[in-house]
Amino acid sequence: MSGSVRVKDISKRPDEVLSPVSLQDLVPLPPPYDRLEDQPQWKEISDAARAGLVCNLDGVIATNLPQPKNEAEEREYVDRFVEGLRKLFQKENNWTFLEPLTLSLEYCVKCQTCNDACPVFVGSGGNDIYRPTYRSEVWRRLVKKYVTPGGKLLSRFTEGEIDLNWTAITRLYELCYRCTLCRRCAQACPIGIDNGLITHELRKLFSQELGWAPRELHEKGTVLQLAVGSSTGMNPEVVKDNIEFIDEDTTEETGMPVHSPWDKEGADVLLIHNAGEILAWPENPAAFAIILNAAGVDWTLASDEVGYDGVNYGLFYDDMQLARIALRHVQAAKKLKVRKIVMGECGHQHKAMMTIADRILTGDMHVHRESCLPLLEDIVFSGKIKFDPTKNDFPVTLHDPCNITRNLGIVEPQRRILRYLCPQFREMTPHGVDNYCCGGGSGFAVMSGNNFADWRVSVGGRIKFKQILDAFADQPGPEVKKYLCAPCSNCKGQFRDMLQYYGALEKSGITYGGLVELIVNAMVDVKEPFIKWEMH
């Protein structure tokens, strides 16, 4: 397969799939997941979808982009794309990433050193279009030819051949959603070129200039969050009801009084969860409440719209949507006059609030922000709560969310907790800042239309699944229950789908959950096991 699809092919043969994904080519998994015939078939794309949507990249549809109505519409979008390319390099329109983008445009020597660092490329068995450099090179050639002065004359010599048309931009758009922005490729680059950044900037171009973005991230993501308060659709009344229900339910189950305070003015900590936890993994906010109350932390939740949902999908595709949501988070904190905002177990929330938005929070928008992980570490080792690590005496491994480890450098607090509370804790290989993405990063975990869920589980998350199995290779059977600790909502969404897809609970005894659940499970005062060995 390697070398069979060329960069210039992106604009050619619109009626053919450029580089189909083949299950036979994927990196093999260890038994009992090694037999292709035992694995679920991919969802068939309907005839209507095939006819009406752009589907000529790899036979997968992530973006649901409609086919153009006519040639005039095609031309209009192509022209707007070129305009967007220009704006990426204008200080007034893209000062936010102009320096890193300029560096990544002009100085890549195309040595392909990054290729083998990419779990998608490797997991796919080396599909050319999944090279981190493939989409970057398409973009680079287009910029050089259509935006740089004299480009039409010189770019064939300086960069290589490329043509711009509807086929090229729509395949490129779809291809932007085959990279999880994990930035493992950037770590490997000797020069510091960042193909993840290029993908990010291309996604921005499509959203900010053409108005193209996956529905799950835009209409059902940032737009919904700004309109009603949460990308889950929960408004303040609903979220308060749900938390009240979780508190009552947890009190009943654990025998410990659980209460989550709302809108407490002057609290030390404003805790913002990814609101998806409240609906999909209620044990996570419940565990936070148990721990913070037991440790005597002065904390609160905020019921202002957006203030109770740390999700910020703008991080993945649109600077303005990112800024709008980040400002709403800060406004909630300012209104309550809290000392600091603490991020719940959500990786992209960490990155959006703690680093990406950091430099736009000027003047009175400045507020202290930190990860829940150092706070949890401080609590666990403070002596304020009694623990019995033998309650966690089962194999545990840790998934490092890219946005928390590779992007923020928060590596050890979660490990110190696990080493203390989980006698059978073991690392994956590699781990920490060298981890592999779960395959659900950059918004993928909430994108499941057509056959994209099959792709993200079996291609995007393939290397991660292999890593998980390897970490538990000493006790592979289902008779030993094992815990995959993933302190990130989006990663958990991916693991839920991945473990269900392969039947990993039944075949290998693997379930997953957050870090706080393990902490509560080890608390002496919590009499009943907090972790339920079930797929949820």
Binding site: T102, R131, E370
Partner: protein
């Protein structure tokens, strides 16, 4: 080639190099502050850099002193620059050619510095360098040219034969390698057939003193000419990545400086946020008059 043409050509090409080099570097240095985009590991994080940790691991990190280790950062840079650590770890097959190629260039830069010093010394009357120094210069130059040539030839072949590299190798990239191969080839010729350690400082002395009557062996003249052509061409190519690397590492990957109230960065960002935005995405409602703050703070979706 008459000395006058060679010396004048050298001047012209060196001026092009200097102007191009400075212009491109200044352009990078003047790019505006960007949003944080750091990437672990950040080696200057004292006590944490070795495992990729950062100050964000600390509870109430803003109350703690920022401790940085310049030594750890220098060690990381040394391994990366001199030994191409990232290529060694992630692309070993390429490293066998990329390392000698780059190391050869480093040796030649060091040789050039010594030769230039010798030329300047001779020009101010220090006399000729000692025989041992001349022998050392000749030997080091020969080593540098040989390593560079092996590396360049290997990279050319790999880029021509390996499917994953071939499609990404532009005509310009091939030309760059051929040009450098010519530099190394003529250098080897000069070392092998001329009194390199005498003739090259002699020529550079003539350049420094504007001695237009200088004569040099043809192979040295060819080497000087092709080297100067390469230098003049260099600032306009991706080969300037040795400068870009400073910015990609120090200004992007390792730039973890938080926004502090009242800082210079805050003033700069406030100026950038006041710029009008013209993105055409319908959800942004940008009209070319609204600035970043207007758009980010407007009520939407109600």
């Amino acid at each position: 080639m008459p000395g006058v043409i060679l010396v004048v050509t050298t001047y012209v090409l060196l001026v092009v190099f200097l102007v191009g080099f400075v212009a491109r570097t200044v352009r990078l240095a003047r790019l505006p502050v960007h949003l944080r985009w750091e990437l672990a590991p950040i080696p200057h994080e004292k006590g944490k850099g070795h495992y990729g940790g950062s100050y964000l691991e600390e509870l109430d990190w803003w109350t703690k002193p920022r401790e940085k280790s310049l030594v750890a950062e220098l060690r990381y840079m040394l391994l990366e620059i001199v030994f191409l650590k990232a290529v060694f770890e992630h692309n070993r097959r390429l490293w066998w050619f990329s390392f000698p190629f780059h190391f050869g260039l480093y040796v030649l830069v060091a040789v050039a510095a010594v030769v230039l010093l010798a030329a300047a010394g001779a020009a101010v009357g220090w006399g000729a360098a000692a025989p041992a120094v001349r022998a050392g210069v000749t030997g080091a130059a020969g080593l540098g040219y040989a390593l560079g040539a092996i590396g360049a030839l290997g990279l050319l072949v790999k880029r021509a034969l390996e499917p994953g590299l071939r499609d990404f190798t532009s005509p310009a990239a091939r030309f760059n390698l051929v040009l450098l191969l010519t530099v190394f080839g003529t250098g080897i010729g000069a070392v092998a057939t001329a009194d390199y350690a005498t003739s090259l400082p002699g020529y550079l002395g003539a350049v420094l003193t504007a001695n237009l009557a200088v004569t040099v062996p043809p192979i040295v003249a060819a080497h000087v000419l092709v080297t100067c052509v390469f230098l003049a061409y260099l600032p306009f190519t991706t080969m300037m990545h040795f400068v870009a690397k400073y910015f990609t590492y120090h200004e992007v990957r390792w730039n973890d400086e938080p926004m502090m109230p009242g800082s210079r960065m805050e003033k700069e960002v406030e100026r950038l946020l006041a710029q009008p935005v013209t993105w055409a995405g319908p959800h942004l409602h940008a009209d070319g008059k609204k600035n970043w703050v207007d758009i980010a703070t407007e009520e939407v979706g109600k």
